[in-house]
Amino acid sequence: MIPAIFVFIYLAVVVYIGVFAFRRSEGHRAEDFFLANRSLGTFVFLMSLFGTNMTAVAILGSSGHAFTNGIVTYGLMASSSGLVIPLTIFLIGTRVWALGKKYGFITPVQIFRDRWECAHIGTVIFAVQAVLLVPYIIIGIMGGGTTLSAISGGFVPYWFGGAIVAMVVMSYVFFGGMRGTAWVNTFQTILFLVFGVIAIGVIGTGMGGFRGAAEALGSAPATSWLLTRERISPYYFFSYTFIPLSAIAFPHILIFCLTAKRMVQFKKTVIFYPLCILLIWFPCVFLGVMANRTAGEIPAIREKQEARRVLAQQGKTMSPEQREVVREQAAGDDVILHLLQHYAPLWLAGILGAGIMAAVMASDSQILALSTMFTEDVFAFYGGKRRFGEPVQVQTGRIFVIVLTILAYVVALRAPETIFEIAIQYAFSGFAALSPLMIAALFWRGSTKWGALASTVWVALAVTAVAVFQQTTAAPPPGPPAVFWTVGGTEVLARTPSGTSVFGFMPVVPMVLVSALLMVVVSKLTPKPSAATVARYFSERD
């Protein structure tokens, strides 16, 4: 219960930050509520942009994935992001910021509508973005409920934990808008950074140092592969470098790029971004791998390893449903919690638990982004702002935050978590495949609204097709994939234990490439926007 008290103190601080941000706001102005008046300074911009991108995956997911899959987790999810995300912020984020300052844009769809002289195609893009974003909000509330329940030792039930997290997030987004969200994200990122350093020190001390554990893992045949990538295909590893393209297509990240006071704020953000990733992900991945040596001391981890062994040895003879149950038992998302509960003193486990809650509660930016998109791309665009005025627009945004959070909470109570975990898998690929839109809008004079529409429709269809395929086809046991379609002896489509492969790659690779191809081909065949519009986006030097 003591750790839960620290978590409640943390939640109270977060609400206070939101209310404090409210006092600094000019509540009736849309730019102030949705973009913090485009006024964030260097430190807040770096910390909050980074924090916005760090979901529960960063701490719980990374250590859990590393527990099950070994060191490959860092190369798959962290180091590729450390290169691709700052690069896209450098190339695209700065241009989006400049356009926002010049023309007053608040959402990416506003840029698309203006750049390609379109109206309803922008609405289609809004709809696809919104559908892909909703699962993040639901999973954030689910994660909050699960974590609060686990940290309190079951004292706080799941439904109540989820309600508390939903209320807290709703409060500071409702009152503080972008300013409150950015300040809370900054506070959360500082907690993540402190978390990694303290956790590795405390757990390392508790385990009597890591040297013995690392050598023992490497010398035992059952665990030595965790220190390598021998069980991962190089194609799969390469595919993952496409996933971070999603970051710059996420509406909440693009909207965040509009909040910087000056462009110089991007400089330190792109330079320090890979180092922030290193500071958070490296300890979590390392601890996740080392957790495999704690089975003798921690019964819950022993049970997970036993489930993993059963899956490997008997998976082929199990029914798909049985396999899924054992796979759940072997999942390692809570290993970091078990390590802390075992090795950290109670008060420290409480502080570190607050750090984990910070990671889980990352749905704030998505809620605010959806509210911003709805009020700007739908309410204002279809005449609401003109008829009712800007103060009503801001109030609509606040009401949208409440309605969305309540709906997400109701869904979180009723639907199984795995559905949304899978949906997030698709969403990452979907947003990555939407990245050619912004790239084409900013860097290619010849791009057209029809090219944008073709790419967007392709993304919607591809995400749906992969989702249907994975839902209707049972995952095979660990080992080779189940091949569904070959052409001339070449494997085209296969179901893998963790997803789908197309020509041996993850679906994100063909999704991105076909999206880019459609943008090019359809744009070449269709009429361009007027010369005056193109001239506003491309100077002579371009």
């Binding site: 913090a36 006024s39 190369g75 180091s79 450390g82 010049k102 390598t228 470098t241 330079i271 791998v289």
Partner: protein, 78 residues
């Protein structure tokens, strides 16, 4: 020339992410860190250095100048 070198640096780092040479190695750096993990930790530091190079030598300063010419200004720093 400078721009071509920077593009080459970005492409090279992207290729270096696919470190097949450490794929199956169980070697421990400093007796603790698996070499594949250590390599990708160093990769993150290299990515940061590359960003520093881009900021220093390819910063799109013209965008900032264009914006300053429009007269739109942000509010106070938060």
């Amino acid at each position: 020339m400078k721009r071509a070198l920077l593009v080459l640096a970005v492409a090279s780092l992207y290729v270096l992410h696919q470190d097949i040479w450490f794929w199956g190695s169980k070697r421990l750096v400093f007796g603790i860190i698996p070499v594949g993990l250590f390599y990708h930790g160093c990769f993150s530091v290299a990515a940061s250095l590359l960003m520093w190079l881009l900021v220093r030598h390819a910063w799109p300063a013209h965008l900032e100048r264009e914006v300053e010419g429009t007269g739109r200004e942000g509010g106070e720093a938060s």
